[in-house]
């Protein structure tokens, strides 16, 4: 496996040399730290209501101001990072797992299995994703767990198509034929030879997918059908921002910046991984 170590070292070197991707990675790392150790970034309790400081603009005591219940906005933004990171990862984990299974089955077995699964993908893609998510949530109830599940269950179709296409081309390659000639079973061919070679595009789509999932969660929470107060999420702080749009700009500005930077970080990293995995595509 020394050869494959070299490939990964090359990959990491190309990725780090890409300044934008590295910057994206740093931003994500920063928000990970915020989510993991919120106490390092704020000493205040995000849920503490203080009616004496309602809707205060940013000040030394409250660097990002306070909301309509006198809660500290910095603390709420800091703790809100947990929701975004969690939703992003779990939702994309679900979507990627489903997409991998369906894509591998479809690409490897082909024929009728492929036809049925791909028609199912086509049908799912007919529903506007946001409509589908809202409909399912109307049947369940809005909670973090449901949001993660629904975003994941409605977001796997792209991965499935991607993995299918990779599998179709990989299974015809000589090294797969060689493995088969040596007597490798189906499982070994799929998991040992096909899957590892299909991982790069999946990693790209998962990284970009986290960005999309964070955006979707924030929009749902903003509309009041996502993460419910008092749990702070960037989206539901913005809902309060809209209610006080005429006199409390800080409620609208800061949570949005947090979303923008996090999502930008994932998008830059995702593009960077794409370029590093396939240098021929760089700059496209």
């Amino acid at each position: 496996m020394t050869g494959s170590g070299g490939i990964w070292r090359d990959f990491a070197r190309r990725l780090l040399r890409n300044r934008l991707a590295a910057a994206g990675g740093l931003v994500i790392l920063f928000f990970f730290l915020v989510a993991a150790f919120p106490a390092l970034f704020t000493s205040r309790n995000p849920d503490r209501i203080d009616v004496s400081v309602i809707l205060q603009p940013p000040s030394a005591a409250h660097p990002l101001g306070t909301d309509d219940l006198g809660r500290d906005v910095l603390a709420r933004v800091v703790y809100g990072a947990r929701v975004s990171m969690k939703v992003g990862f779990v939702a994309v984990g679900i979507a990627t797992a489903i997409g991998l299974v369906i894509g591998l089955l479809s690409g490897f077995y082909g024929g009728r299995v492929d036809a049925v699964l791909m028609r199912f993908v086509d049908i799912m893609l007919c529903f506007p994703t946001f409509f589908l998510i809202l409909s399912v949530i109307a049947f369940l109830s809005p909670s973090i767990v449901n949001i993660m599940a629904v975003i994941g269950l409605t977001g796997w179709m792209g991965v499935a198509r991607l993995v299918r296409a990779e599998t179709l081309s990989l299974k015809e390659r000589d090294f797969v034929a060689a493995a088969r000639a040596q007597g490798a079973g189906t499982a070994r061919i799929v998991f040992r030879h096909i899957l590892p070679n299909a991982l790069a595009p999946v990693l790209v789509s998962a990284t970009l997918g986290v960005a999309g999932a964070i955006l979707t969660e924030s929009a749902l929470s903003f509309l009041g059908i996502g993460v419910q107060p008092p749990t702070p999420s960037w989206g539901n702080i913005l809902t309060i921002g809209k209610n006080y749009i005429e006199f409390a700009w800080w409620l609208s500005l800061f949570p949005g910046l947090a979303i923008l930077f996090t999502v930008l970080g994932y998008n830059l990293l995702g593009e960077g991984i794409r370029d590093a995995a396939d240098p021929r595509l760089s700059g496209r």
Partner: protein
């Protein structure tokens, strides 16, 4: 061409069946079935509504009969009556709301085309230039910015601080008393921000797509031969390369229908625009299931129609497709 259209239409039939099957299953797999979700979770659903629902779904029949009836209703766009106090037919409610939603989406598609194609082409032709790098930054920001947040910021700037634009509704209070020109100007002022925002993220995607298409086309042999025979660069780029680079945009435009529709839920809610997106949001908030399923189905039909039009448009523009 006719053969192509017929074949393409036949391909949509299994998709239509699939759409109806999924929406049918969705309402039946919901905990407790369609009646209990409607009555347990919705305090406004009366015994009368319950009886109407039983009849609507034909729950006393076997499942396949129920599905056949459901399919029949879908085919005639009969989505039942809304749970809301007025209890009007869902189809009628959607019909009232859909024109404004389609207007905004068509306008923003136009905006996307007008702005994204020149940006993409210019970036590709002047690859690595300051403009190209600036547009790359714009594209990444466009992908990453939550558009509802951008909407809030623009509302604060243009609505609250500067007072230039209205921030809610589609007409001023005195709309009815205005003359024709006044009405058009008033409507335009109300729709400006929603249209801009609805097109914003599509704009980023489309200009990126246009750029990479153009880069791809410029590398082709026929471009090299156009240059080799001494054509001016301007002609090579705008006559020979651009035509082929623009073609796939038709497909992307068709594929962007579901995203635009999904976005309309957000914009119409923020800007208080009485369209289908706002109706959907209200339906979700009040758990008005016939309304939700109706709009979900219409959304799927519109997506299918978008794909169909894109394919036919592409075939019209590119003979290789319709013969292939």
């Amino acid at each position: 061409m006719l053969r192509f259209i017929v074949r393409r239409l036949l391909l949509t039939i299994p998709l239509l069946v699939g759409i109806s099957l999924i929406s049918f299953l969705m309402i039946h797999l919901a905990p407790g079935g369609p009646i209990s979700i409607a009555t347990d979770l919705n305090p406004r659903a009366t015994a009368d509504a319950r009886a109407r629902l039983e009849k609507y779904y034909g729950l006393d029949r076997p499942l396949h009969v129920q599905y056949a009836r459901w399919l029949e209703r879908m085919a005639t766009l009969d989505f039942g009556d809304s749970f809301s106090p007025d209890g009007r037919p869902v189809a009628q409610k959607i019909r009232e709301r859909i024109p404004i939603t389609l207007t905004i989406n068509v306008l923003s598609m136009g905006l996307i085309l007008l702005v994204a194609i020149p940006i993409g082409i210019y970036s590709a032709v002047h690859r690595g230039s300051l403009f190209d790098r600036a547009s790359t930054v714009f594209v990444f920001t466009g992908f990453s910015i939550p558009t509802f947040w951008l909407a809030l910021l623009l509302m604060i700037l243009f609505g609250v601080k500067l007072g230039w634009l209205p921030i809610s509704g589609i007409g001023s209070l005195d709309y009815q008393s205005l003359g024709l020109a006044g009405k058009i100007a008033d409507r335009a002022r109300h729709l400006l921000l929603p249209v801009l925002l609805a097109g914003f993220s599509g704009l980023a995607g489309m200009s990126r797509y246009m750029r990479s298409n153009m880069l791809e086309v410029i590398r082709q042999d026929y471009i090299a031969s156009a240059r080799a025979k001494g054509l001016p660069e301007r002609k090579v780029v705008y006559r020979h390369a651009m035509r082929n680079a623009v073609l796939p945009v038709i497909t992307i435009l068709g594929l962007s229908v579901p995203d635009l529709l999904g976005g309309s839920v957000i914009f119409e809610t923020i800007f208080a625009i009485p369209g289908m997106g706002q109706l959907f949001y209200q339906g979700v908030m009040s758990r008005d299931y016939p309304l939700i399923m109706g709009i979900l189905t219409i959304g799927a039909f519109l997506t299918l129609l978008g794909n169909l039009l894109a394919d036919v448009g592409y075939a019209l523009a590119d003979p290789r497709i319709r013969q292939g």
